[in-house]
Amino acid sequence: MNLLLWLAALPCLYWTPAVDSAPRLKAAGIDRLCVPPARAEQWRQAGFAAVGLSEADLAVRDTPLAPGIRVRADRASATRSPWVDANGWRFLRDPAGQYAYDLPAGRAALAAAEAAVYGADAVLRIDPADLESLGAMMVFLAQLPANDLPDVADLAVVDDGSAPLGEVLNLLVRRNLLIRIVKAPSPDFGINVKLGTKEYPLREAGEPSALALKIRRQLTDEQRALRVFGSEVVIGRLASDGSRARLHLLNYGGREIEGLRIHVRGSFPRGEALVAGQGRVGLEERAVVNGATEFTVPRLGLYGVVDLSALE
């Protein structure tokens, strides 16, 4: 994705207050808005890149989940994992879709990062208390170096458009299993998941978590292009051409993670991270072994990007 496309793909804050709120927006670093059409010109005159968006325009957009985690109160086991509400699978499934987040307080910055990572056409309706954190994230996103690397995928999923498959896609992405969504089985992949086949009977979609685990074990962890250690609430998106790689890391857990260990297939001796809220961060304890690269991201807030290079 080149720089212009990347910037265009950034999500848009939907802002209904009057133009006298402009100083607060500017202070937050936000200069691009979606506003009610009647106010668009006023906002432009105030120096903002404003796009008119009516209630009707909003109404036709799909509403993604507010990203984050839910602790499942029905589970008392010590090993329970939090349930992650994430939308990457939706964006992968329908890259041309239009979305309008409706976000409670505390979720705007993560939603902005999530939408940007997947290049989603997304509008953000936020709690005004999140303006500053959203602004900081938007500034961070806008400053990221452009990147046009192709997505990495370990397996293909044939999309039948069904809701059950949607939940399977969700859980595959949630488990950091890198997928390519296709219309028909692809010869490029050793694993093609197609519901309703002998290998993936429709009934198995009724237990999407079990099906995702089955697929993971068919692939094997050793063959996966991406592994994340030290957290179960970080979702990655990996792009690479073999000589360079970019890894997006979205932290849905709501608290900073220290010492996140990453395993990426391929030999990438050089690399660094750009972490929202921290800027440029060196990767720690790097190791390249058996055709894979491992490193530690010292601290990860809501979002970080790791750029890797095969050049010594």
């Binding site: 179960e232 857990g253 010492g259």
Partner: protein, 378 residues
């Protein structure tokens, strides 16, 4: 990777006992070679010294008697080593150049934790050998547990009291060594690694293990093996889930990973107090009992084999089901409240066989016929 890696696959084959289900594949990654004589089982395999004193703990106040504990420890260490004095006995294990970690257990706060008196006496003896306080570390995995127990007022200034993580919230990994771990997919969890604490791999040269006498819902009992294993690695709660426990093979495997195995040179199991149900927690005194013993050895398996009987006997004395009971009728999966209310409720099928499995890994002796227990009364 610019280091040597020792990668072992511990799976079924020669070590596996006859179990209805296959054991999970456990991959051990460590660059550390074993010592010539690994600390576990150490120089005294199959040896247990059990020192009992009626005066060691006041069962009304739950307080221990420091003077009695000191005497018990001296007698126990001397009996174990054959030395005549406590300093001579301690010198068998430690030198002034050592950096010593004391692995305590704080999970049974407020009623059954590694006693201040035992920990303090261990520190005193180490200092008497010439080990400066700056080379002594009291450690646990979670800082919030250490804070609750608060050893600091009982220890000399300069001793470091340290944990790997702030709390059990899976967000602080920097206290763990990314290159030393056990990898396993047990229940389909995404994070399949359990990493050893950096303190163990990078700083300590010797470790004293001070566990408690406790029941445990997943392992049957928790003593030397589980305290040193689950207390030195990250991401271990994943081994027991929805009624099933993989602790059978995981506990011993963790304990066998270098350098933990080689550096853990002394086992002092605090049996002044114990908990016979609801463990590893002891939030109330309902299930607390008082063995009034301290166990000494270098063989964690031999001590834990005694522990299994102690816990099971105490449970039987209270009419509770055995730790070996695997029947579904007593199983209420994930129902911690029912477990706490009724000693005849399991929330997980317990795996006391983890002690025998550890013996198969070479960590010690589990066969009662081959264990020599020396009882001492103070």
């Amino acid at each position: 990777m610019d280091r040597r890696s020792f990668v072992r696959l511990l799976a079924a084959a020669p070590l596996a006992p006859a179990l209805p289900e296959a054991l999970p594949k456990l991959k051990v990654v460590s660059a550390y070679a074993p010592a010539a004589v690994p600390g576990m089982p150490g120089p005294y395999p199959g040896r247990v010294v059990s020192v009992r004193s009626e005066k060691s703990v006041d069962t009304t106040s739950n307080a221990a008697n420091a003077d009695v504990v000191r005497e018990m420890m001296a007698r126990g260490l001397c009996a174990l080593t054959g030395e005549r004095t406590a300093p001579q006995a301690w010198r068998r294990f430690f030198a002034p150049s050592d950096v010593v970690g004391i692995k305590v257990n704080c999970g049974g706060h407020p009623n059954v934790v590694s006693s201040y008196e035992i920990v303090a006496e261990a520190v005193r003896q180490l200092m008497a050998l010439g080990i400066p306080t700056t080379q002594i570390y009291v450690y646990e995995r979670f800082q919030n547990q250490l804070d609750e127990v608060n050893y600091a007022p009982h220890l000399p200034e300069g001793v470091t009291i340290v944990a790997a993580e702030t709390a059990n919230r899976r967000a602080d990994n920097r206290g763990y060594d990314p290159a030393t771990y056990v990898e396993a997919d047990l229940f389909g969890e995404e994070d399949t690694r359990s990493n050893m604490m950096r303190l163990v791999t990078q700083k300590l040269t010797k470790i004293i293990n001070i566990p408690n006498v406790k029941d445990h819902g997943a392992t049957g009992a928790t003593g030397c093996l589980k305290n040193i294993a689950y207390g030195s690695f990250s991401n271990v709660a994943r081994t027991h889930y929805r009624g099933k426990s993989h602790t059978y093979s995981f506990v011993g495997t963790l304990a066998s990973v270098e350098p933990l195995r080689s550096r853990t040179v002394l086992q002092i199991m605090d049996g002044l107090r114990g908990v016979w149900h609801g463990g590893p927690f002891a939030r109330t005194r309902r299930y607390v009992f008082y063995p009034k013993r301290i166990f000494f050895g270098t063989d964690p398996v031999a001590i834990d084999r005694q522990l299994l009987d102690i816990i099971d006997d105490e449970r039987k004395a209270h009419g509770a089901i055995s730790i070996y009971d695997r029947s579904p009728q007593y199983l209420k999966v994930d129902d911690g409240a029912a477990r706490d209310a009724d000693p005849n409720v399991n929330i997980i099928i317990r795996e006391p066989g983890h002690v025998e499995y550890a013996a198969r890994l070479g960590l010690g002796v589990a066969d009662l016929a081959r264990i020599k227990v020396q009882d001492i009364e103070v």
